[in-house]
């Protein structure tokens, strides 16, 4: 049977505020255990929550960026359940009146652009961390993370493959960094994905029973976990079995998903409006001012790269796929305004290759955007050729200095002295009579031979354009 995969994602993005959503404790990652869990975060008897303005503003930013309806009156609810890393015995979240309503975002998979619906996004508090391997007989609880603001972004079940799910997750990941609401650090858990996966016979409208995959901390694992789950469900259904609605934990080491033992079974969250918090009202003025302050969105940037810089769709899409990449590219453009395509090629070519090879993020590149920009300027002003530039770049990567220092030190400056080039050209023509004849009898390809000889004689430093012109005029 032909099966269709249906995927919806729940993304938890930690909002990059200084203090927690309901307390004035720090949200900094990596502090000593429990040193950032204040009385409110610990849920001491008598403490009360007070909402962080910045968390609200950041949620609104996201809503505006996905063209969503902002609920100008939204309400916090309590989600009740017991767990050691949930200090109050309830999580403050939003159920019926989330801050962000329906929105949408476009993804590109292969040749196709597809619109994915965002069902809602709501504010909530993160839980602490349970550490199971610190003691043999105990689970250790660190509540530093408790109360960190989260935006839970829920998608429609609009994705039909693991690839689409990854493309969507990456789009949201890029977006939250663009608009400065989340640092996107997946290793530290700032950006987490849960996937709801089901399959159904191709053509059937009714959704199949879904499983929720949790504990996925990279895009690579997201793709693997979904594919694994799709296979598992197919096997079950093709054997005549039934898929159970459950939460499954992805284990990246064993590359398997396993059912989370009965945890969900008895859960009845008993949501009700949190009586310690009042309804949040968002004024038209606040909405307008956040809208006005919103930075250029990836989709807008992409359109601008195409229209103003003349980049093609593919290049523009790649360059805007991550904020850090776009930032790098735009910094490089300064001084290279008329060479946007060349800059794009360098970022996506030489630079990306070395970054990938060394597994370095672009923001940590040993060659900064300013430094690379200067190198491109030297190509642009004919100081060096593109070919020589590649050598210079490698030297820059190895820390041998700036582009100009390396060009000077290695004497790589292009020969633009017509007289000197002419002398060399004359000598080569004089020494290679048979090849001259071939050219004259119409073998255009033989020109390459002369260029090669000239480059050899000048250690590649002859200005190629000048050389070509001179050879042509002398040979004809």
């Amino acid at each position: 049977m032909q099966w269709e995969t249906v995927i919806g994602l729940e993304i938890h993005a930690q909002l990059s505020t200084k203090s927690k959503i309901f307390s004035s404790a720090s949200t900094q990652f990596g502090a000593k255990p429990n040193s950032q869990a204040c009385a409110v975060d610990l849920g001491l008897p008598g403490v009360l929550p007070v909402l962080n303005k910045e968390a609200v503003n950041k949620a609104i930013k996201f809503g505006l960026a996905v063209n969503a309806h902002i609920n100008q009156r939204n309400v916090f609810d309590r989600k009740n359940y017991f767990y050691p890393d949930l200090p109050k015995g309830y999580q403050i979240s939003q159920l019926d009146w989330p801050i962000v309503g329906e929105g949408e975002i476009d993804i590109v998979v292969g040749e196709n652009t597809k619109t994915i619906g965002v069902t809602r996004a709501h504010l909530e508090e993160d839980a602490g961390k349970s550490i199971h391997d610190l003691y043999d007989d105990y689970t250790a609880v660190d509540l530093n993370r408790a109360g960190t603001p989260l935006l839970e972004i829920v998608s429609e079940p609009d994705m039909r493959s693991a690839k689409e799910a990854v493309a969507y997750a990456k789009k949201i990941h890029a977006l939250v960094q663009y608009i400065g609401i989340c640092d996107g650090n997946m290793q530290e858990g700032s950006f987490r994905c849960d996937a709801n996966v089901s399959i159904r016979p191709m053509g059937q409208e009714k959704l199949g029973t879904r499983a929720e995959l949790k504990n996925i901390n990279s895009f690579k694992f997201l793709e693997k976990a979904i594919n694994l789950e799709v296979e598992r469900q197919q096997d079950i259904l093709e054997d005549g079995g039934e898929v159970v609605q459950e939460t499954r934990l992805y284990d990246a080491v064993k590359h398997e998903t396993r059912s989370m033992r009965s945890k969900e079974e008895a859960n009845d969250y008993r949501y009700f409006p949190d009586p310690d918090l009042l309804p949040v009202e968002i004024s038209n003025e606040l909405l307008a001012s956040i809208k006005a302050d919103l930075p250029e969105l990836p989709v807008e940037k992409k359109a601008r790269f195409i229209a103003e810089l003349g980049l093609n769709e593919y290049d523009a899409d790649v360059l805007t796929s991550q904020k850090s990449l776009a930032d790098y590219f735009e910094t490089m453009l300064i001084g290279n305004e008329s060479n946007a395509k060349l800059c794009a090629n360098w970022v996506m070519g030489e630079l990306s290759a070395l970054l990938n090879k060394n597994q370095i993020e672009i923001q940590d590149s040993p060659v900064s955007a300013q430094e690379l920009s200067l190198l491109i300027q030297r190509i642009g002003d004919d100081t060096i050729s593109g070919k020589i530039a590649k050598d210079v770049f490698k030297a820059m990567w190895d820390g041998e200095g700036s582009a100009d220092q390396i060009i000077d030190a290695k004497g790589l400056k292009q020969m633009t002295d017509t007289g000197a080039i002419e002398a060399i050209v004359d000598e080569i023509i004089a020494n290679n009579a048979p090849q001259v004849e071939q050219f004259k009898s119409g073998n255009e390809k033989i020109l390459g031979f002369f260029v090669g000889q000239a480059m050899k004689a000048t250690q590649g430093k002859a200005n190629p354009k000048l050389l070509n012109e001179m050879l042509r005029s002398k040979l004809t």
Binding site: P45, G46, N80, F82, P87, G89, P275
Partner: protein, 483 residues
Amino acid sequence: MSIHNKTIAQLSKGLNSGEFSSVELTQHYLDRINSSQLNAFITVTDELAMEQARSADDKIAKGNANILTGIPYAHKDIFCTNGIKTSAGSKMLDNFISPYDATVSHKLNQAELVMLGKANMDEFAMGSSNENSYYGDVKNPWNINKIPGGSSGGSAAAVAGRLAPFATGTDTGGSIRQPSSLCGITGLKPTYGRISRYGMIAYASSLDQAGPMTQTAEDAALVLNVMAGFDEKDSTSAERDVEDYTASLNDSIKGLTIGLPKEFFSEGLDDEVASQVMAAVKEFESMGASVKEVSLPNSAYAIPTYYIVAPCECSSNLSRLDGVRYGYRCDDPKDLEDLYLRSRSEGFGEEVKRRIMIGAYALSAGYYDAYYLKAQKTRHLISEDFKKAFKDVDVIMGPVSPTTAFDLGSVKDPVSMYLADIYTLSANLAGLPGMSIPAGFAQNLPVGLQLIGNYWSESKLLNIAHQFQMQTNWHTKVPQGSE
């Protein structure tokens, strides 16, 4: 007059004129507490009290004192006090030494008051008789076989028994007014949001409100001046300036319109209580007030409404008591489940468990609409009734409690116990301020008159109560043995 029969206003004069020192005064109360049989305190903080008294005397000597400097008080054990056990009357928090101060505690410290100790109370403020305390029943100073009322029973008994010039209380469904009434003292529950709830251990967050319990309305005004005020740590606290609540105490109440809700004089009200209440109303008429009948038709539903809303909130509020970060943990839990189940079952008392279960059920899938949502809608109707009534009248009066204090141990069935709150719950559901003032005796036990005012009308209520106390002497009566 014995020193302990003096009001705060009188004690303040005595302290500032050098008639007695705060150390002497504090020692006097500590001695009385130590020889008292009322069980009004869970913790007596004698050392701290003496230290605060000495520091107050210092201030007075230097002429830096304010009006309440050096006045002792009993603090309901629901307010967190830094470094001092804060139990909320529960085994669950028997070992809880609060690492922080409630905003109210902080304000009372700032005002240089002297804390004598933490007053006994029904566990987590759930109860109308103070028989639900882990620390034992509190006894009514007027008759030690009777209940003092609850949940601020220790506070009421302490003031009536002259163990403290005043006490703090909290009122979720009548917990200031009902014990004040049954013990013959003055108690004020302000408008919801007037006093910060930060650090006040939550029972039902949308209903809880702190207030003063005193001998007189004038004293209540003095204490409210200190307790009230906006607190940025409490999202539900009102951003409103604090008035000087003593400023209008002496205003005339001529022309005052009193509303008497017919529903407050219905079946179940003790005849003698009713006649004391009506006598008090007559007294107001003689002072130039007029009386009008009003109707609060939905107040008949206050009991079911309250006993859904409050348990729902408490079932969630008390989830944090899980034996993980503070409070009671059972011995040798075999696994996490066991830790939760035993710590909570062993740590909570009967009534608390009952309300937690009612709340858990009323909020659970499939029942939310029928119970919680329905109760929130009825709550709206109850509050609308008051809105209508206050278009015609300045204050609503009636009984606080349908009976005088009953015998300890006599009411065993929870629903019968809940009926004791019938006249007090509506004000909490609507968020309105209410008072209980001494209005006579029935069966040799005090009867309180309830005043319910419009939102933020604390000054008006205190003015009305003060004027009554200028004409009557019920508030000066002292239980035998406490003179």
